[in-house]
């Protein structure tokens, strides 16, 4: 367990605070931010990467830490942590404040369903920001994050892997990073 820091009404592990960008620390913690930043400078998170097997079209693939985009298919993920169906600010708040806490208890693969439908306003900005937070979570906790989405989220440039399935001439064809997988 990473060292706990109590700030205001909440306790954070130093590992959790590593997920925050400097600007987020300043905006949320105000004048305490420089103190936290100083504390975080000497913190090194050394976790073994978590690899998870996922099933798709009868095949099995190995997911490594990072953010994977899935379009047109549902992976068979055992024991994944599914992000609750929150929308807008509540969704972002969960990703930055609650998801790392859940991973502190047990590191697991994370799954986010219908990312493109999680924002009712400022959709494009919301998607980029949530993916940025998820990338930081995946990087700090070294877990795979699976994001289900469509065209809007697919544009983002930092996915570690892209899985796409579509119906072609009546059969389902799936590709991983553009390489044919099945169908």
């Amino acid at each position: 367990m990473s060292q706990l820091v109590v700030v205001g009404r909440e306790a954070f592990t130093l590992r959790h605070l590593k997920v925050f960008r400097r600007e987020e620390l300043a905006a949320v913690f105000g004048e305490l931010a420089p103190v936290l930043e100083k504390k975080l400078e000497s913190v090194v998170v050394l976790l073994t990467p978590l690899y998870v097997k996922a099933g798709i079209c009868g095949r099995e693939i190995l997911l490594s830490p990072g953010v994977t985009h899935v379009r047109g298919a549902v992976l068979n993920l055992q024991d994944a942590l599914y992000v609750p169906p929150f929308l807008d600010a509540e969704f972002l708040e969960y990703l930055l404040f609650d998801l790392p806490r859940a991973l502190e208890e047990e590191r697991r693969a994370v799954a986010v369903e219908d990312l493109d439908g999680r924002f009712t306003v400022h959709v494009k900005e919301g998607i980029s920001y949530s993916l940025d937070i998820l990338l930081r979570v995946a990087s700090v906790y070294r877990v795979p994050v699976v994001v289900y989405g469509s065209e809007a989220s697919e544009e983002w440039g930092y996915f570690s892997r892209r899985i796409m399935c579509e119906k072609l001439e009546g059969r389902e064809v799936c590709t991983v990073d553009g390489e044919h997988l099945c169908g």
Binding site: V7, G8, R9, E10, R21, R22, E23, E24, A27, V28, F29, G30, L32, V44, L46, A89, L92, E93, L96, F97, H122, E125, G126, S128, Y129, D132, S139, E155, G157
Partner: protein
């Protein structure tokens, strides 16, 4: 003194700068092959792109200012390429100093302020 760097070396350097990113990585994360990891580190050090510190037996590598500048240029190039063929480039106003460490998507992103407000109310600082 200016020196000529082969294109292949530039491409390798850019790939490793992108891989390190804004994180602090250990040698093993660069490559599980110790010899290759050393070789990468030497290449990055030769061009003064990284800083290295030791924590116990672990060497930790992060980009220095030059490295971060290169990373920013690389991301800008990526954005330009992604936007190729779309709308013509419009000159942007200079970025405020406070926003410089934020990635491009974050400037003028309303969700940052909204989340900050919620975070402040939640933490109560």
């Amino acid at each position: 003194m200016l020196c000529w760097i082969p294109v292949r070396e530039v491409v390798r350097l850019l790939a490793w700068v992108e891989r390190v990113g804004e994180r602090e990585v250990s040698l093993t994360e660069l490559s599980r092959n110790a010899r290759k990891a050393r070789e990468i580190l030497e290449l990055l050090e030769k061009h003064d792109l990284v800083r290295v510190r030791r924590k116990g037996k672990v060497y930790l590598i992060s980009l220095n200012e030059r490295g971060l500048e290169l990373l920013t240029l690389l991301r800008r190039a990526e954005e330009l390429l992604r936007g190729a063929g779309a709308a013509p480039a419009v000159s942007r106003p200079p970025v405020q100093p406070a926003q410089q460490s934020l990635p491009s998507f974050a400037s003028d992103n309303p969700w940052l302020a909204i989340l900050a407000e919620r975070g402040k109310a939640r933490v109560g600082v």
